[in-house]
């Protein structure tokens, strides 16, 4: 009985460790995909508002290429960079909206 319990426990552990081992790369791919689509959505927002920064599209494109090449860590890093740029563009546009009238010659 004791042996059965030990074998069962061992099998379960083995199964879980196997699962986690095999799902690791897939999960990174998922994270990268998610980060890219998040960055893409934010960039589209900035682009439509005519405030996107100069390099964001390029960074996003590179992130997609890394994703395609299965370099998920690089893809995630660049997607985050692209998201940051698009986000900052929208934030600064909001800020500028409040102050631009102050520089109009009167």
């Amino acid at each position: 009985m004791k042996n059965i319990l030990i074998y069962t426990l061992f099998s379960v552990l083995l199964l879980f460790s196997g699962c986690s081992y095999s799902s690791a790369p897939q999960s990174k791919a998922e994270v990268a995909k998610k980060e890219i689509s998040k960055a893409e959505a934010r960039y589209t927002q900035a682009h439509k508002a005519f405030v996107a920064w100069k390099d964001t599209k390029k960074v996003l494109k590179k992130a997609k290429k890394f994703y395609k090449d299965k370099r998920f860590d690089d893809a995630i890093a660049l997607a985050k960079e692209a998201y940051y740029q698009a986000d900052m563009a929208l934030i600064e546009a909001d800020e500028a909206e409040k102050v631009w009238r102050s520089v109009v010659p009167k």
Binding site: F50, W100, V104
Partner: protein, 302 residues
Amino acid sequence: MLNRYITVSVLLFILNSLLFAGEFNEQAEKDRIAMQKYFLKKFENPLKNAGEYFPYVSEEEIKKNYIYPLKLEDFVNGTAAWYKPTRDQMVEINDFPPYEIPLDEGSELWEKPFANGKTYSSCFPNPAIKQNYPYYDVKKDEVVTIGEAINECRVKNGEKPLKYGKGEIAKIIAYIAYESRGKRINVKIPNEKARLAYEAGKKLFYKQRGYLYLNCVECHVIGAGQRIRQEALSPILGAVSHFPVYRLKWGGLGTLQRRLAGCVKDTGSEKPKLQSKELKELEYFVTYMSNGLKLNGPDTRK
């Protein structure tokens, strides 16, 4: 009796249009006059008002290199209006203007018949039309630039539209600009939608953008009359009068749209598409600011 009614109606219509036309450009006129006043005051005596307008320029440099006081008409010369080194360079360069050959080519293109035998004259009987562009097309509800008008003419005559920015279109605009020399810029704001387009252009001009968080004002209003390293910055007032320009940096003739897109990019923003709604509205605003000034394009710039 009927004739009287018609006459009265027509008169009322004209009166109404005139009254409302005045209303639509009321703010724009205030903006234009304020801009002119700003620049006239700024360049009245840079030595005297250096603290207010030229905080980074030494007294010595003002004495040596600045031309002042400036009159309103002087602003059509851009940087060459106030900065001696640029003026000297321009005078020398324009002994044999680099835009002369493309201008001649533009003239030939103007005369060259399309496949259907017609020429650009079928759309524009008089090429001296640049002073009216860009204009707000009330039927299309959008700003129309001179480049678009040219392409519209081509399409109407069964030809492919030209690429905006440089090349053939810049040459044709150069010919139109040359024929329009001496005409005063006369951009109008005919209705409420045109006013909104003007306001959108104004906002784009004054609002900070890009990763450098810059607006057009920093270089071409506040910065005008000062330098960024070796580059003397030109005032926005009169800046549109000499386009298209042969830019030494480009090594060729380029349109105002191309220059504006480059300026937007220089702020660290995504480069806008030529003839995009935003860029046309910016051109509409910027050109309105120079209303009343004489056209002197094409010209040469650094």
